[in-house]
Protein backbone atom coordinates (compact mmCIF):
# COMPACT_ATOMS: atom_id res chain seq x y z
CA UNK A 1 0.00 0.00 0.00
CA UNK A 2 2.72 2.43 1.00
CA UNK A 3 4.74 1.52 -2.12
CA UNK A 4 1.70 2.21 -4.26
CA UNK A 5 1.18 5.47 -2.34
CA UNK A 6 4.80 6.47 -2.88
CA UNK A 7 4.91 5.60 -6.56
CA UNK A 8 1.68 7.54 -7.12
CA UNK A 9 2.75 10.70 -5.32
CA UNK A 10 6.49 10.63 -5.90
CA UNK A 11 6.30 12.70 -9.13
CA UNK A 12 4.28 15.29 -7.20
CA UNK A 13 6.90 15.50 -4.46
CA UNK A 14 9.69 15.69 -7.05
CA UNK A 15 7.97 18.47 -9.01
CA UNK A 16 7.21 20.39 -5.80
CA UNK A 17 10.77 20.11 -4.51
CA UNK A 18 12.28 21.18 -7.85
CA UNK A 19 10.09 24.27 -8.16
CA UNK A 20 10.44 25.00 -4.43
CA UNK A 21 14.23 24.98 -4.80
CA UNK A 22 14.33 27.05 -7.99
CA UNK A 23 11.78 29.78 -7.28
CA UNK A 24 13.84 31.49 -4.53
CA UNK A 25 16.91 31.56 -6.79
CA UNK A 26 15.21 33.84 -9.27
CA UNK A 27 12.91 35.37 -6.64
CA UNK A 28 15.90 36.76 -4.72
CA UNK A 29 16.82 39.04 -7.63
CA UNK A 30 13.19 40.13 -8.10
CA UNK A 31 12.77 40.96 -4.40
CA UNK A 32 16.08 42.87 -4.25
CA UNK A 33 14.98 44.90 -7.27
CA UNK A 34 11.55 45.55 -5.72
CA UNK A 35 9.90 43.60 -8.51
CA UNK A 36 8.27 41.10 -6.16
CA UNK A 37 4.94 41.39 -7.98
CA UNK A 38 6.50 40.60 -11.34
CA UNK A 39 5.81 36.89 -10.85
CA UNK A 40 2.14 37.71 -10.34
CA UNK A 41 2.02 39.68 -13.58
CA UNK A 42 3.77 36.85 -15.41
CA UNK A 43 1.35 34.31 -13.92
CA UNK A 44 -1.64 36.27 -15.10
CA UNK A 45 -0.14 36.62 -18.58
CA UNK A 46 0.67 32.94 -18.68
CA UNK A 47 -3.04 32.21 -18.14
CA UNK A 48 -3.72 33.86 -21.49
CA UNK A 49 -0.91 31.71 -22.92
CA UNK A 50 -2.49 28.53 -21.60
CA UNK A 51 -5.84 29.51 -23.08
CA UNK A 52 -4.32 30.32 -26.47
CA UNK A 53 -2.37 27.07 -26.30
CA UNK A 54 -5.55 25.08 -25.64
CA UNK A 55 -7.29 26.88 -28.50
CA UNK A 56 -4.38 26.11 -30.86
CA UNK A 57 -3.85 22.55 -29.63
CA UNK A 58 -0.49 23.32 -27.96
CA UNK A 59 0.47 21.90 -24.55
CA UNK A 60 -0.49 24.39 -21.77
CA UNK A 61 3.10 24.53 -20.47
CA UNK A 62 4.48 25.78 -23.78
CA UNK A 63 1.61 28.20 -24.37
CA UNK A 64 2.22 29.69 -20.94
CA UNK A 65 5.96 29.87 -21.53
CA UNK A 66 5.78 31.60 -24.92
CA UNK A 67 3.26 34.24 -23.84
CA UNK A 68 4.98 34.91 -20.49
CA UNK A 69 8.37 35.32 -22.19
CA UNK A 70 6.91 37.65 -24.82
CA UNK A 71 5.11 39.62 -22.11
CA UNK A 72 8.28 39.91 -20.03
CA UNK A 73 10.27 41.22 -22.97
CA UNK A 74 7.52 43.72 -23.84
CA UNK A 75 7.24 44.83 -20.23
CA UNK A 76 10.96 45.53 -19.95
CA UNK A 77 10.90 47.35 -23.28
CA UNK A 78 8.14 49.64 -21.99
CA UNK A 79 9.77 50.06 -18.58
CA UNK A 80 13.23 50.92 -19.90
CA UNK A 81 11.77 53.58 -22.19
CA UNK A 82 9.74 54.99 -19.30
CA UNK A 83 6.59 54.58 -21.37
CA UNK A 84 4.80 53.12 -18.36
CA UNK A 85 5.30 53.46 -14.63
CA UNK A 86 6.28 50.11 -13.07
CA UNK A 87 3.07 49.47 -11.14
CA UNK A 88 0.80 50.72 -13.94
CA UNK A 89 2.42 48.41 -16.49
CA UNK A 90 2.07 45.47 -14.08
CA UNK A 91 -1.60 46.25 -13.47
CA UNK A 92 -2.29 46.40 -17.21
CA UNK A 93 -0.64 43.01 -17.64
CA UNK A 94 -2.56 41.50 -14.71
CA UNK A 95 -5.91 42.43 -16.13
CA UNK A 96 -5.08 41.79 -19.78
CA UNK A 97 -3.77 38.28 -19.12
CA UNK A 98 -6.61 37.06 -16.93
CA UNK A 99 -9.30 38.67 -19.10
CA UNK A 100 -7.89 37.30 -22.35
CA UNK A 101 -7.49 33.83 -20.84
CA UNK A 102 -11.07 33.81 -19.55
CA UNK A 103 -12.49 35.05 -22.87
CA UNK A 104 -10.55 32.54 -24.98
CA UNK A 105 -11.39 29.56 -22.73
CA UNK A 106 -15.10 30.40 -22.62
CA UNK A 107 -15.14 31.02 -26.39
CA UNK A 108 -13.86 27.49 -27.04
CA UNK A 109 -16.03 25.97 -24.30
CA UNK A 110 -13.10 24.91 -22.08
CA UNK A 111 -13.65 27.10 -19.02
CA UNK A 112 -14.12 24.08 -16.78
CA UNK A 113 -12.39 22.29 -13.90
CA UNK A 114 -9.09 22.24 -15.81
CA UNK A 115 -9.00 26.06 -15.59
CA UNK A 116 -9.10 25.64 -11.82
CA UNK A 117 -6.04 23.40 -12.02
CA UNK A 118 -4.19 26.00 -14.08
CA UNK A 119 -4.98 28.79 -11.66
CA UNK A 120 -4.43 26.87 -8.40
CA UNK A 121 -2.24 23.94 -9.45
CA UNK A 122 -2.83 20.25 -10.08
CA UNK A 123 0.34 18.75 -8.70
CA UNK A 124 -1.24 15.51 -7.48
CA UNK A 125 -1.78 14.37 -11.05
CA UNK A 126 1.79 15.16 -12.14
CA UNK A 127 3.50 12.43 -14.12
CA UNK A 128 7.20 11.72 -14.59
CA UNK A 129 7.06 13.38 -18.00
CA UNK A 130 5.70 16.52 -16.28
CA UNK A 131 8.59 16.28 -13.81
CA UNK A 132 11.05 16.04 -16.72
CA UNK A 133 9.63 19.18 -18.38
CA UNK A 134 9.56 21.07 -15.06
CA UNK A 135 13.08 19.85 -14.24
CA UNK A 136 14.43 20.96 -17.63
CA UNK A 137 12.99 24.47 -17.24
CA UNK A 138 14.25 24.79 -13.66
CA UNK A 139 17.70 23.47 -14.61
CA UNK A 140 17.83 26.13 -17.33
CA UNK A 141 16.90 28.84 -14.81
CA UNK A 142 19.46 27.72 -12.23
CA UNK A 143 22.18 27.17 -14.85
CA UNK A 144 21.78 30.58 -16.47
CA UNK A 145 21.61 32.26 -13.05
CA UNK A 146 24.85 30.57 -12.01
CA UNK A 147 26.55 31.73 -15.21
CA UNK A 148 25.59 35.40 -14.85
CA UNK A 149 25.20 35.56 -11.06
CA UNK A 150 27.72 38.35 -10.49
CA UNK A 151 26.25 40.48 -13.29
CA UNK A 152 22.65 39.97 -12.11
CA UNK A 153 23.68 40.80 -8.55
CA UNK A 154 25.53 43.97 -9.63
CA UNK A 155 22.38 45.18 -11.44
CA UNK A 156 20.11 44.16 -8.55
CA UNK A 157 22.24 46.11 -6.08
CA UNK A 158 22.57 49.34 -8.05
CA UNK A 159 21.31 49.58 -11.62
CA UNK A 160 22.85 52.96 -12.34
CA UNK A 161 26.34 52.04 -11.17
CA UNK A 162 26.09 48.74 -13.05
CA UNK A 163 25.24 50.68 -16.21
CA UNK A 164 28.09 53.10 -15.56
CA UNK A 165 30.48 50.15 -15.32
CA UNK A 166 29.52 49.05 -18.83
CA UNK A 167 27.20 46.14 -18.01
CA UNK A 168 24.35 45.66 -20.53
CA UNK A 169 21.64 46.39 -17.97
CA UNK A 170 18.66 46.22 -20.36
CA UNK A 171 19.71 42.80 -21.68
CA UNK A 172 20.25 41.49 -18.16
CA UNK A 173 16.80 42.78 -17.16
CA UNK A 174 15.23 40.96 -20.10
CA UNK A 175 17.13 37.81 -19.17
CA UNK A 176 15.82 38.02 -15.60
CA UNK A 177 12.25 38.35 -16.83
CA UNK A 178 12.65 35.49 -19.31
CA UNK A 179 13.90 33.27 -16.48
CA UNK A 180 10.96 34.41 -14.35
CA UNK A 181 8.65 33.38 -17.18
CA UNK A 182 10.32 29.93 -17.32
CA UNK A 183 9.83 29.51 -13.59
CA UNK A 184 6.19 30.61 -13.80
CA UNK A 185 5.54 28.06 -16.54
CA UNK A 186 7.34 25.36 -14.56
CA UNK A 187 5.44 26.18 -11.36
CA UNK A 188 2.02 26.34 -13.02
CA UNK A 189 1.39 22.65 -12.36
CA UNK A 190 2.69 22.81 -8.78
CA UNK A 191 0.88 25.74 -7.17
CA UNK A 192 -0.97 27.31 -10.10
CA UNK A 193 -0.58 30.61 -11.88
CA UNK A 194 -2.27 32.64 -9.15
CA UNK A 195 0.05 31.36 -6.43
CA UNK A 196 3.39 30.87 -8.19
CA UNK A 197 4.46 34.42 -7.28
CA UNK A 198 4.19 33.43 -3.62
CA UNK A 199 6.88 30.77 -4.11
CA UNK A 200 9.09 33.41 -5.74
CA UNK A 201 8.76 35.77 -2.81
CA UNK A 202 7.77 34.14 0.50
CA UNK A 203 10.70 31.69 0.90
CA UNK A 204 13.10 34.53 0.03
CA UNK A 205 11.46 36.69 2.69
CA UNK A 206 11.93 33.81 5.16
CA UNK A 207 15.59 33.42 4.16
CA UNK A 208 16.22 37.14 4.57
CA UNK A 209 15.29 36.86 8.27
CA UNK A 210 18.15 34.43 8.88
CA UNK A 211 20.94 35.78 6.69
CA UNK A 212 23.48 38.60 6.57
CA UNK A 213 24.22 38.37 2.88
CA UNK A 214 22.33 38.07 -0.40
CA UNK A 215 23.84 34.65 -1.10
CA UNK A 216 22.91 33.23 2.31
CA UNK A 217 19.45 34.73 2.01
CA UNK A 218 19.03 32.92 -1.31
CA UNK A 219 20.30 29.61 0.12
CA UNK A 220 18.01 29.83 3.17
CA UNK A 221 15.22 30.68 0.73
CA UNK A 222 15.94 27.53 -1.26
CA UNK A 223 15.73 25.50 1.95
CA UNK A 224 12.46 27.19 2.90
CA UNK A 225 11.08 26.65 -0.63
CA UNK A 226 11.84 22.92 -0.69
CA UNK A 227 10.59 22.28 2.84
CA UNK A 228 7.40 24.29 2.20
CA UNK A 229 6.68 22.36 -0.99
CA UNK A 230 7.25 18.97 0.67
CA UNK A 231 5.40 19.86 3.89
CA UNK A 232 2.51 21.53 2.08
CA UNK A 233 2.11 18.58 -0.24
CA UNK A 234 2.27 16.16 2.68
CA UNK A 235 -0.47 18.07 4.49
CA UNK A 236 -2.67 18.13 1.39
CA UNK A 237 -2.20 14.40 0.76
CA UNK A 238 -2.67 13.56 4.43
CA UNK A 239 -5.90 15.53 4.72
CA UNK A 240 -7.19 14.18 1.42
CA UNK A 241 -9.22 17.08 0.08
CA UNK A 242 -7.14 20.21 0.56
CA UNK A 243 -5.74 22.15 -2.42
CA UNK A 244 -1.97 21.42 -2.51
CA UNK A 245 -1.16 24.84 -4.04
CA UNK A 246 -2.76 26.52 -1.07
CA UNK A 247 -1.16 24.28 1.56
CA UNK A 248 2.29 24.77 -0.02
CA UNK A 249 1.99 28.55 0.08
CA UNK A 250 0.58 28.49 3.62
CA UNK A 251 3.52 26.28 4.65
CA UNK A 252 5.87 28.87 3.12
CA UNK A 253 4.16 31.62 5.12
CA UNK A 254 4.56 29.44 8.20
CA UNK A 255 8.28 29.13 7.40
CA UNK A 256 8.46 32.91 7.14
CA UNK A 257 6.87 33.34 10.58
CA UNK A 258 9.23 30.77 12.13
CA UNK A 259 12.25 32.41 10.46
CA UNK A 260 11.13 35.82 11.73
CA UNK A 261 10.96 34.55 15.32
CA UNK A 262 14.27 32.65 15.05
CA UNK A 263 15.99 35.56 13.31
CA UNK A 264 14.82 38.05 15.92
CA UNK A 265 15.98 35.77 18.72
CA UNK A 266 19.40 35.34 17.09
CA UNK A 267 19.73 39.11 16.65
CA UNK A 268 18.99 39.61 20.34
CA UNK A 269 21.59 37.02 21.37
CA UNK A 270 24.26 38.24 18.91
CA UNK A 271 23.71 41.95 18.16
CA UNK A 272 25.68 43.08 15.12
CA UNK A 273 25.21 46.81 15.32
CA UNK A 274 27.40 49.33 13.56
CA UNK A 275 30.92 49.60 14.89
Amino acid sequence: MSRLFLSFFLPAYAAGAIVGATAPVIGSFLVQRRLALMGDGMGHLAFAGVALGVALGVAPLWGALVVAVAGGVALEWLRSRRMLAGDLSLALIFYFGIALGAVVLTAIGRFDASANGILFGSILTATWSDVAAIGALCALVVGVTALVYKELLAVALDEETARASGLPVERLNVLLLVMTACLVAAGMRVVGLLLIAALLVVPVAAGSRLAHSFRDSMLWGVGAGVSSAVAGLGIAIGQGDLAPGGTIVLAAIGAFLVASVVGRGAARRHPRGAA
Binding site: S28, V31, F214, A275
Partner: protein, 235 residues
Protein backbone atom coordinates in the same frame (compact mmCIF):
# COMPACT_ATOMS: atom_id res chain seq x y z
CA UNK B 1 51.17 63.26 -20.62
CA UNK B 2 48.07 61.72 -22.25
CA UNK B 3 44.63 63.04 -21.44
CA UNK B 4 42.28 60.81 -19.45
CA UNK B 5 39.27 63.08 -19.88
CA UNK B 6 38.59 65.85 -22.35
CA UNK B 7 35.40 67.89 -22.45
CA UNK B 8 34.98 70.58 -25.09
CA UNK B 9 32.07 73.03 -25.29
CA UNK B 10 29.77 70.72 -23.35
CA UNK B 11 26.23 71.98 -22.91
CA UNK B 12 23.48 70.20 -21.03
CA UNK B 13 19.98 71.11 -19.88
CA UNK B 14 17.20 69.31 -18.05
CA UNK B 15 14.24 70.47 -20.11
CA UNK B 16 14.33 74.27 -20.16
CA UNK B 17 16.76 74.45 -17.24
CA UNK B 18 20.24 74.91 -18.59
CA UNK B 19 22.84 73.33 -16.30
CA UNK B 20 26.12 73.32 -18.23
CA UNK B 21 26.80 76.07 -20.71
CA UNK B 22 29.99 75.34 -22.61
CA UNK B 23 32.23 73.38 -20.23
CA UNK B 24 35.83 72.79 -21.24
CA UNK B 25 38.02 70.50 -19.17
CA UNK B 26 41.20 68.53 -19.72
CA UNK B 27 42.45 65.99 -17.20
CA UNK B 28 45.71 64.07 -17.32
CA UNK B 29 46.77 60.85 -15.64
CA UNK B 30 47.46 61.53 -11.96
CA UNK B 31 45.34 64.70 -11.74
CA UNK B 32 43.32 65.09 -8.54
CA UNK B 33 40.52 67.58 -9.11
CA UNK B 34 37.75 68.69 -6.78
CA UNK B 35 34.48 69.91 -8.25
CA UNK B 36 32.74 72.43 -6.02
CA UNK B 37 29.63 74.54 -6.33
CA UNK B 38 26.16 74.98 -4.87
CA UNK B 39 23.36 72.41 -5.12
CA UNK B 40 22.04 72.11 -8.66
CA UNK B 41 25.07 73.77 -10.23
CA UNK B 42 25.84 70.73 -12.38
CA UNK B 43 28.61 68.89 -10.54
CA UNK B 44 26.87 65.51 -10.55
CA UNK B 45 25.68 66.11 -14.11
CA UNK B 46 29.29 66.59 -15.17
CA UNK B 47 30.30 63.25 -13.64
CA UNK B 48 27.32 61.49 -15.23
CA UNK B 49 28.32 62.89 -18.63
CA UNK B 50 31.86 61.56 -18.12
CA UNK B 51 30.61 58.06 -17.35
CA UNK B 52 28.09 57.97 -20.20
CA UNK B 53 24.91 58.04 -18.09
CA UNK B 54 23.97 61.31 -19.79
CA UNK B 55 24.78 62.59 -23.28
CA UNK B 56 25.72 66.21 -23.94
CA UNK B 57 23.33 68.24 -26.06
CA UNK B 58 26.31 70.02 -27.58
CA UNK B 59 30.06 69.59 -27.39
CA UNK B 60 32.13 66.46 -26.97
CA UNK B 61 33.14 64.21 -24.08
CA UNK B 62 36.05 61.81 -24.44
CA UNK B 63 37.41 59.71 -21.61
CA UNK B 64 40.36 57.30 -21.61
CA UNK B 65 40.80 57.86 -25.31
CA UNK B 66 37.28 56.88 -26.32
CA UNK B 67 33.58 57.52 -25.94
CA UNK B 68 32.08 57.15 -22.47
CA UNK B 69 29.32 55.12 -24.14
CA UNK B 70 31.84 52.39 -24.97
CA UNK B 71 31.48 49.56 -22.38
CA UNK B 72 35.21 48.84 -22.60
CA UNK B 73 35.93 52.46 -21.66
CA UNK B 74 33.38 52.40 -18.86
CA UNK B 75 34.86 49.37 -17.19
CA UNK B 76 38.11 51.32 -16.72
CA UNK B 77 36.23 54.00 -14.76
CA UNK B 78 35.46 53.77 -11.05
CA UNK B 79 32.20 55.58 -10.36
CA UNK B 80 30.57 56.21 -6.99
CA UNK B 81 27.18 57.95 -7.23
CA UNK B 82 25.85 60.24 -4.57
CA UNK B 83 24.33 58.41 -1.62
CA UNK B 84 23.54 54.78 -1.01
CA UNK B 85 21.54 53.40 -3.91
CA UNK B 86 21.43 49.82 -2.69
CA UNK B 87 17.84 48.95 -1.76
CA UNK B 88 17.48 47.41 1.68
CA UNK B 89 15.09 44.75 0.37
CA UNK B 90 17.33 41.81 1.30
CA UNK B 91 20.45 41.57 3.45
CA UNK B 92 23.59 42.32 1.45
CA UNK B 93 27.10 41.84 2.82
CA UNK B 94 29.77 44.50 2.50
CA UNK B 95 31.86 42.04 0.47
CA UNK B 96 29.02 41.50 -2.01
CA UNK B 97 28.60 45.24 -2.55
CA UNK B 98 32.31 45.77 -3.17
CA UNK B 99 32.65 42.66 -5.37
CA UNK B 100 29.89 44.08 -7.60
CA UNK B 101 32.54 46.57 -8.73
CA UNK B 102 34.37 43.68 -10.43
CA UNK B 103 31.35 42.31 -12.31
CA UNK B 104 32.18 43.97 -15.62
CA UNK B 105 35.97 43.89 -15.53
CA UNK B 106 36.03 40.19 -14.64
CA UNK B 107 34.23 39.28 -17.84
CA UNK B 108 31.26 37.07 -18.69
CA UNK B 109 30.96 33.51 -17.37
CA UNK B 110 33.93 33.93 -15.05
CA UNK B 111 33.38 33.53 -11.34
CA UNK B 112 35.21 35.63 -8.81
CA UNK B 113 38.27 33.72 -7.61
CA UNK B 114 40.77 33.95 -4.75
CA UNK B 115 42.64 36.80 -6.44
CA UNK B 116 39.42 38.78 -6.77
CA UNK B 117 38.63 38.19 -3.11
CA UNK B 118 42.06 39.57 -2.27
CA UNK B 119 41.28 42.65 -4.35
CA UNK B 120 37.97 43.10 -2.53
CA UNK B 121 39.71 42.78 0.83
CA UNK B 122 42.41 45.21 -0.32
CA UNK B 123 39.80 47.80 -1.35
CA UNK B 124 38.05 47.39 1.99
CA UNK B 125 41.34 47.75 3.88
CA UNK B 126 42.11 50.93 1.94
CA UNK B 127 38.92 52.58 3.23
CA UNK B 128 39.25 51.19 6.75
CA UNK B 129 36.54 48.52 6.52
CA UNK B 130 38.76 45.45 6.48
CA UNK B 131 37.23 43.97 9.62
CA UNK B 132 33.62 44.55 8.54
CA UNK B 133 33.65 42.64 5.26
CA UNK B 134 31.17 39.97 6.38
CA UNK B 135 28.71 42.43 7.94
CA UNK B 136 25.37 43.31 6.42
CA UNK B 137 25.64 46.70 4.71
CA UNK B 138 22.46 47.97 6.31
CA UNK B 139 23.75 47.32 9.82
CA UNK B 140 26.63 49.75 9.31
CA UNK B 141 26.61 53.47 10.04
CA UNK B 142 26.01 55.92 7.20
CA UNK B 143 29.71 56.75 7.01
CA UNK B 144 30.70 53.09 6.86
CA UNK B 145 28.16 52.49 4.10
CA UNK B 146 29.63 55.40 2.17
CA UNK B 147 33.11 53.92 2.56
CA UNK B 148 31.83 50.59 1.22
CA UNK B 149 30.47 52.40 -1.86
CA UNK B 150 33.86 54.08 -2.26
CA UNK B 151 35.58 50.67 -2.02
CA UNK B 152 33.32 49.40 -4.81
CA UNK B 153 34.59 52.21 -7.04
CA UNK B 154 38.22 51.45 -6.11
CA UNK B 155 38.18 47.65 -6.38
CA UNK B 156 38.50 47.42 -10.16
CA UNK B 157 41.71 49.47 -10.00
CA UNK B 158 40.30 52.04 -12.43
CA UNK B 159 42.29 54.58 -14.40
CA UNK B 160 39.70 57.29 -13.79
CA UNK B 161 37.81 57.76 -10.51
CA UNK B 162 34.58 59.78 -10.58
CA UNK B 163 33.30 60.23 -7.03
CA UNK B 164 30.12 62.10 -6.18
CA UNK B 165 30.26 63.39 -2.61
CA UNK B 166 32.50 60.52 -1.42
CA UNK B 167 32.76 61.84 2.15
CA UNK B 168 29.02 62.26 2.82
CA UNK B 169 28.21 60.81 6.23
CA UNK B 170 31.84 60.04 7.04
CA UNK B 171 33.06 61.43 10.37
CA UNK B 172 35.27 64.51 10.12
CA UNK B 173 38.01 62.57 11.90
CA UNK B 174 37.97 59.80 9.26
CA UNK B 175 37.93 62.09 6.22
CA UNK B 176 41.70 62.77 6.08
CA UNK B 177 42.33 59.04 5.69
CA UNK B 178 39.93 58.91 2.72
CA UNK B 179 41.59 61.99 1.20
CA UNK B 180 45.05 60.45 1.70
CA UNK B 181 43.97 57.21 0.01
CA UNK B 182 42.68 59.13 -3.02
CA UNK B 183 45.93 61.14 -3.15
CA UNK B 184 47.89 57.88 -3.06
CA UNK B 185 45.86 56.61 -6.04
CA UNK B 186 46.48 59.86 -7.93
CA UNK B 187 50.21 59.61 -7.24
CA UNK B 188 50.05 56.13 -8.76
CA UNK B 189 48.64 57.63 -11.99
CA UNK B 190 44.89 57.43 -11.43
CA UNK B 191 42.91 60.53 -12.37
CA UNK B 192 40.61 61.48 -9.48
CA UNK B 193 37.59 63.75 -9.80
CA UNK B 194 35.69 64.24 -6.55
CA UNK B 195 32.58 66.31 -6.05
CA UNK B 196 32.56 67.89 -2.61
CA UNK B 197 30.38 70.33 -0.74
CA UNK B 198 32.92 70.75 2.03
CA UNK B 199 35.82 72.98 0.93
CA UNK B 200 38.03 71.48 3.62
CA UNK B 201 37.70 67.82 2.61
CA UNK B 202 40.37 67.61 -0.08
CA UNK B 203 42.06 71.02 -0.40
CA UNK B 204 45.29 69.78 1.16
CA UNK B 205 45.65 66.82 -1.21
CA UNK B 206 44.06 67.92 -4.51
CA UNK B 207 45.81 69.59 -7.44
CA UNK B 208 42.97 71.87 -8.48
CA UNK B 209 39.62 73.08 -7.23
CA UNK B 210 37.12 73.75 -10.02
CA UNK B 211 34.03 75.74 -9.20
CA UNK B 212 30.96 75.04 -11.32
CA UNK B 213 29.60 78.54 -11.66
CA UNK B 214 26.74 79.57 -13.96
CA UNK B 215 27.23 76.53 -16.16
CA UNK B 216 30.99 76.89 -16.59
CA UNK B 217 34.11 75.74 -14.78
CA UNK B 218 36.38 78.20 -13.04
CA UNK B 219 39.56 77.29 -11.21
CA UNK B 220 39.63 78.78 -7.71
CA UNK B 221 41.86 78.68 -4.68
CA UNK B 222 40.76 77.23 -1.37
CA UNK B 223 40.32 80.74 0.03
CA UNK B 224 38.28 81.89 -2.99
CA UNK B 225 36.04 78.86 -2.56
CA UNK B 226 35.44 79.75 1.09
CA UNK B 227 34.60 83.32 0.07
CA UNK B 228 32.24 82.06 -2.63
CA UNK B 229 30.44 79.81 -0.13
CA UNK B 230 30.17 82.62 2.46
CA UNK B 231 28.80 85.02 -0.15
CA UNK B 232 26.30 82.37 -1.28
CA UNK B 233 25.16 81.84 2.31
CA UNK B 234 24.78 85.58 2.87
CA UNK B 235 22.56 86.06 -0.19
Amino acid sequence: MHLTAELAGVRFAYGAMRILNGVDLSLSAGDFVVLAGPNGSGKSTLLRLCVGLLRPQAGTVRVLGGSPLDPDVRRRIGYAPQGLRVAASLPVSVTEVVAAGLAKSKGWLRRLDRRDRRRVNGALESVGLGDLSAECLFELSGGQQQRAILARALVGEPELLLLDEPTTGIDQSARPAVAAELRRRADAGVTVVAVSHDPDDFHQVCDRILLVDRGRLRQVTHEELHTHIELGAAQ
